[in-house]
């Protein structure tokens, strides 16, 4: 029987020719990731094993991004713990302030995650790397600790759902709208424990940044991973970054899917997810008009150069509504630099936005733009749970950078063609 890409990657890393959904496997890992929230817990667990070394100094990646640059003394202690661990165990890929970025923007950019890889990260949005044709999934800190020791992790081989997108994408509709629309359709547990395989002519033409956005939100449908088969677009991106060999896997024509869902995207509008779940989606025509206090453009979902390009295109020569606080968080130092070279940063600042150093910041209600009671924000992030960006009685609406930029100018949720 045929296998999906996800099955093939797991099989290859378990030293098997064939694996079936439901099987429990022990697999070798290519990359183990942690951040300033999850790594400290992992480090304290790792220390209980009393080991002198980690399984491989090159395959562990540590990124302080959630509460970094350190937001307070406790965060500073957590970052310090991680920094000292990296030094003590000779972890090669520790990214200090000045080099760091939001982990899921940073790892692909640095060529640390590649097609065919098996990656775990103590962060739920580790699934982002599926955009490169890798099997990447979020785990907890204890999994990370065990993996740092053994280079292995246990997996249950997931069933796969195949999503086929066809038709022509309308203007201002992109990866964020595709994934929000999909989550709106199947719900926040529609792909629970499963692999989401994104395919079809629309995906084949989709830029790598838009693919990252889609794979990033697989977890928002409960997915174990999201995956897109690597192709020319992928190779274009990884070839100049990869420092080691990689393998491209393709799903067999007779691979078994638990479900196949098709979407004609030709009539899709920009999508907005209303509080307090990513599945509460509405087309922009039914969402416009909600008065906002804050707009956030950034995060591991939409903090890449193409996202900033779209926002800049809309904001160019315009002024942000006087009652809106707009915060722009480029995903990495490289992205920030590139945005500066291309003149986007100037556009943002002249429009009246605040531009930040890379950080998760307000995405998880950490710092750099927390909401007060009753406030409403529209964000290009991935979660709008109760209290996600601040006060439990604040609200978060999720949308694309295009909708975010237009809404910042209008002062309320607005379509990109309204400005």
């Amino acid at each position: 029987m045929g296998m999906t890409i996800s099955q093939k990657i797991l099989a290859a890393h378990a030293g098997r020719d064939y694996v079936e959904p439901g099987e429990l496997l022990n697999c070798r890992l290519d990359v183990v990731l942690g951040n300033d929230v999850t790594a400290p817990v992992a480090i304290s667990e790792f220390k209980r094993l009393e080991l002198d070394e980690v399984f491989d100094q090159n395959k562990i990646v540590l990124v302080p991004d959630h509460f970094a640059p350190n937001k307070d003394i406790k965060s500073a202690e957590q970052c310090k713990l991680m920094r000292e661990f990296a030094g003590q165990y000779g972890i090669k890929n520790y990214f200090e302030i000045g080099q760091m970025g939001i982990e899921h923007c940073l790892l692909p950019e640095q060529g640390l995650v590649l097609p065919g890889d098996l990656i775990i990260g103590a962060d739920s949005h580790t699934c982002t790397y599926g955009a490169l044709g890798a099997f990447a999934t979020g785990v907890g800190s204890t999994d990370m600790a065990a993996a740092m020791a053994t280079g292995e992790a246990w997996f249950k081989v997931p069933e796969s759902i195949k999503f086929i997108y066809y038709g022509e994408l309308p203007p201002w509709v992109g990866g964020k709208d595709l994934i929000l629309h999909t989550i709106g359709d199947i719900g926040v547990e529609g792909a629970r424990y499963m692999s989401m395989e994104f395919t079809g002519e629309v995906i084949e033409k989709l830029s790598i940044d838009n693919r990252f956005t889609m794979a990033n939100m697989a977890i928002e449908a409960g997915g174990k991973n999201g995956i897109i088969q690597a192709d020319e677009i992928t190779l274009d991106y990884v070839k100049k970054r990869a420092k080691r060999p990689f393998t491209i896997y393709k799903s067999d024509p007779d691979a078994v899917y638990s479900e196949v869902r098709e979407y004609d995207v030709s009539k899709l509008e920009p999508v907005v997810a209303f509080p307090h779940l990513p599945e509460n989606t509405r087309p922009i025509s039914e969402a416009a008009g909600v008065v906002l206090d804050q707009v956030v453009i950034g995060s591991c979902t939409n903090g890449r150069i193409e996202d900033l390009q779209i926002a800049a295109q809309i904001m160019k020569g315009k002024k942000i509504h006087p009652e809106i606080r707009t915060i722009i968080l480029p995903g990495t130092q490289q992205i920030l630099l590139e945005a500066m070279r291309r003149g986007y940063i100037e556009i943002f600042i002249e429009a009246g936005a605040a531009v930040s150093t890379p950080t998760c910041g307000p995405c998880l209600g950490g710092h750099m733009g927390i909401l007060a009671r009753g406030e409403k924000a529209l964000a290009t992030t991935n979660r709008n749970f109760v209290g996600r960006m601040g006060h439990p009685e604040s609200e978060v609406y999720l949308a694309s950078p295009a909708v975010a930029a237009a809404s910042a100018i209008k002062g309320k949720i607005a379509a990109p063609w309204e400005v």
Partner: protein
């Protein structure tokens, strides 16, 4: 092992931000996290919860982030186990890895009311509602996961395998 305690019942899709809001993640001290456990779902939960109590919830409990602070906060609050109709994947995995007992049983959840006294047999998955005297059977764990739970979590499990030289470390 047999547990008994009172139920705190929650709805569907309780996410990890509700279990332990991100604003408290600058520490992983169980006692400190416990003071804010379930705060955004029920602000009075940290005061109300007593050692041995049981959390029950509808579908998709623990969705959202991978933070192990969520099961740590629940354990820190003294909760003895969580029963839900279903669990989100990473949360499920984390509970096994940190040794917080969890059970999936829709019938038991549907029938129970907030405050019901329960008795749970972790070895057999049998749940008894002491108010209604009804019995329910939860799904058993696959043996491999049961082994990790029996050792008190993944690190102990790895440690033992390492001592027996079963893994290269």
């Amino acid at each position: 092992m047999i547990l008994s305690g009172r139920v705190h019942k929650f709805g569907a899709d309780i996410d990890t931000d509700a279990i332990i809001p991100a604003r408290y993640l600058n520490t992983f001290d169980p006692g400190e996290l416990a003071q804010h456990c379930m705060e955004d779902a029920d602000p009075r939960f940290p005061e109300k919860v007593q050692a041995g109590d049981i959390i029950a919830a509808d579908k998709n409990f623990g969705c959202g982030s991978s933070r192990e602070h969520a099961p740590i906060a629940i354990k820190g609050a003294g909760v003895s186990c969580v029963i839900a109709k279903s669990f989100a994947r990473i949360f499920y995995r984390n509970c096994i890895n940190v040794g917080l007992p969890i059970l999936e049983c829709s019938e038991a959840v549907d029938a129970m009311q907030d405050g019901d006294p329960l008795q749970v047999d972790l070895d057999t998955g049998k749940i008894i509602n002491l108010r209604s005297k009804e019995e329910y059977q939860a799904m058993p764990f696959p043996p491999f996961m049961q082994q990790i739970m029996d050792k008190g979590g993944l690190i102990n499990y790895v440690k033992e395998r390492k001592e027996r030289d079963e893994v290269e470390v």
